[in-house]
């Protein structure tokens, strides 16, 4: 095996001499697109953060002025607060609920493939469609309020109260993400040896006990993965809140998230590219910090 790949390598090297450009031709389109539209914008975001560049004005170096301005910008703190709350609200639900859902659809009982697919439908739909469906469901006169009125609770202003709006948006994010993480957990659960469950059952452990002592430890690394993926996504939330609270971020802009602020500040003909880039840098830093935090929590638990 080793010798065959070695000689293979040598032969391929001979091909390289025949077609000196072809490897780069193969990789060129991907490298070009990635370079121009991902890496160059990344570097230019880091550079622009230290300038007062606007959409139509090149701008000049201003040092840390943008970051100093951030500290005194109420809107920035509102955005940071809401995006952080979003992580705290959404991540526990998205780590736990899809796992329970996966356990529910794991057994091959009749019709189960239909249920699995049906539960995945919200993942397939565009976030715009999902947002508008829920705007109508949660409307002052919508379905949920008429049901609530029917059982005597009365109508609730899901979309008019600042905090209820944020909570509703979180619920929509969880609703849309359930099926996606359910599939990830299903793959992980398939690898849990059933002897573990049987041994626990012999020891007289009930369903809850077995969940805590067998299932959770067995899929722990998947839970960490889901935690990392969902926390990064939650911090960058844009569409749900944008659609449900409106472009200006709800009553007095109190529901603005950090990425909504980036979008509002940096786009259009009067966009403050420099300042929006400084906001973006905060998004980078928190995103990386969140990933490191989750992974580190994982390692500490392991030891």
């Amino acid at each position: 095996m080793a010798s065959s790949t070695l000689s293979g390598a040598r032969r391929v090297q001979r091909v390289r001499r025949q077609l000196p450009t072809s490897p780069w031709l193969f990789a060129a389109p991907g490298l070009l697109i990635t370079g121009i539209f991902i890496l160059y914008p990344f570097v230019s975001t880091l550079v622009n953060a230290f300038t007062d560049r606007r959409t139509l004005i090149p701008g000049k170096f201003v040092g840390l002025a943008n970051f100093r301005e951030l500290l005194h910008d109420d809107m920035f703190w509102i955005g940071l607060r809401n995006s952080t709350l979003y992580v705290l609200g959404v991540v526990p639900a998205l780590v736990l609920l899809p796992l329970l859902l996966a356990l529910l659809v794991q057994k091959n009982i009749p019709g189960i493939t239909f249920f699995r697919s049906a539960f995945y439908t919200p993942v397939v739909a565009s976030i715009v469609v999902v947002g508008l469906i829920w705007v109508w469901l949660l409307d002052e006169r919508g379905l949920i309020n008429s049901l609530l009125e029917g059982i005597g609770v009365g109508r609730v202003g899901f979309l008019s109260d600042q905090w209820l709006l944020l909570l509703s948006a979180m619920a929509v994010t969880v609703w849309k993400g359930l099926g996606y993480y359910m599939i990830i957990y299903l793959a992980a659960l398939a690898n849990v040896p059933r002897e573990l469950h049987e041994a626990a059952a012999v020891d007289g452990a009930g369903a809850v006990r077995r969940f805590v002592t067998v299932t959770v430890p067995a899929v722990r690394s998947t839970m960490v993965l889901v935690g990392a993926l969902s926390s990064v996504a939650a911090f960058k939330v844009f569409s749900e809140v944008y659609l449900m609270a409106g472009p200006s971020g709800g009553p007095a802009g109190e529901d603005t998230t950090l990425v909504m602020l980036v979008q509002r500040t940096g786009t259009g003909l009067t966009g403050r590219v420099g300042y929006a880039s400084a906001l973006s840098v905060v998004v980078f830093v928190v995103t990386v910090a969140l990933m490191l935090l989750v992974l580190r929590a994982d390692r500490r638990e392991e030891t």
Partner: protein
């Protein structure tokens, strides 16, 4: 069903007239557990699919029917397609759908071709700088798109491509994650076949096209489906790059419809049904690739 006879001693004795439904390990599931499972499944079904059906129902309700009634009427009294006509008269919804289709189709082609080529180069072709090239794609995958969207917008302006559909497609047209997915797929192929082809005188292009590519069709299908869905569903980037209403994609058009005619629920409902129906149809036909993509994407992502 004979496996059901092998009742394990740990299981409580069960009445003989119980139907013999067994789980994937051949163990009998008790009736009360089965009933509980189906009750829960139906409850979750109502929660996940119900909202779509309510939207469909709203879109089919005529102008005289009360859509705010309490208790709500779940089925339209006199189903009508009137609202779909009205959407088309209010915004050029079919043009928007066509724009979305163009963007999604272009995204599929560029991602499949671009990531298969680059993935093959990373996996198979020996050349100096291959490690650097791999690292470039790994780094690019880690960059959060939301964080560079303003710079992408200014880049697009510099290229004169803002407010065009080409500008909508370009930034994601060869996604780094797809390149790495294809690279892994090629790495998992046995090398010997390509070696044999090399001995027979096949060059890199021939080995790529005739041997390697047909063997990774499954991964290619996953890339294609997620490229289509990603482009069709995308919101933030087209919202930033498109300003001319005649160039809108469906998601941006829907947002515009919602912003302008928010109180016309039947109209918005019809618009959302138009936007979501094609994807639900696609999903219904190609489910296993959707599920496979989740697994492969999560491992990379």
């Amino acid at each position: 069903m004979s496996v059901a006879e092998k009742v394990r001693p740990v299981q409580a004795p069960v009445p003989a007239r119980e139907p013999r439904v067994t789980d994937e390990h051949g163990r009998r599931i008790r009736v009360w557990e089965l009933v509980l499972r189906y009750v829960l499944l139906l409850a979750v079904l109502a929660l996940t699919v119900g909202p779509f059906l309510w939207q469909l129902s709203t879109s089919l309700k005529g102008p005289t029917e009360d859509i705010y009634s309490s208790p709500p009427s779940f089925l339209p009294g006199h189903p009508t397609l009137h609202n779909y006509e009205r959407v088309a008269n209010t915004i050029p919804v079919w043009d928007y759908a066509f724009n979305s289709l163009k963007v999604a189709a272009a995204n599929v082609v560029t991602n499949c071709v671009g990531s298969a080529l680059a993935g093959y180069a990373l996996a198979r072709l020996r050349y100096r700088g291959r490690r650097v090239a791999t690292l470039v794609f790994i780094l690019a995958m880690l960059v959060p798109v939301e964080g560079i969207i303003i710079a992408q917008f200014t880049t697009m302006r510099e290229l004169g491509l803002n407010n065009t559909l080409v500008g909508v497609v370009l930034p994601g047209c060869i996604a780094a994650m797809n390149v790495l997915l294809m690279r892994n797929a090629f790495l998992n192929l046995p090398y010997e076949i390509e070696e044999a082809a090399y001995v027979d005188g096949a060059n890199a292009w021939q080995r790529f096209l005739r041997i390697a590519l047909p063997s990774v069709r499954g991964t290619l299908a996953v890339v294609a489906i997620f490229a289509f869905m990603g482009a069709w569903d995308d919101f933030l980037w087209p919202l930033i790059v498109l300003s001319d209403p005649s160039k809108f994609t469906l998601t941006i058009g829907l947002n515009y419809l919602h912003g302008t005619f928010a109180n016309d629920e039947r109209l918005v409902a019809a618009g959302t049904v138009i936007a979501v129906a094609p994807l639900i149809a696609l999903f219904a036909c190609l489910q296993r690739y959707f599920f496979r993509g989740v697994g492969e994407g999560a491992v990379k992502g």
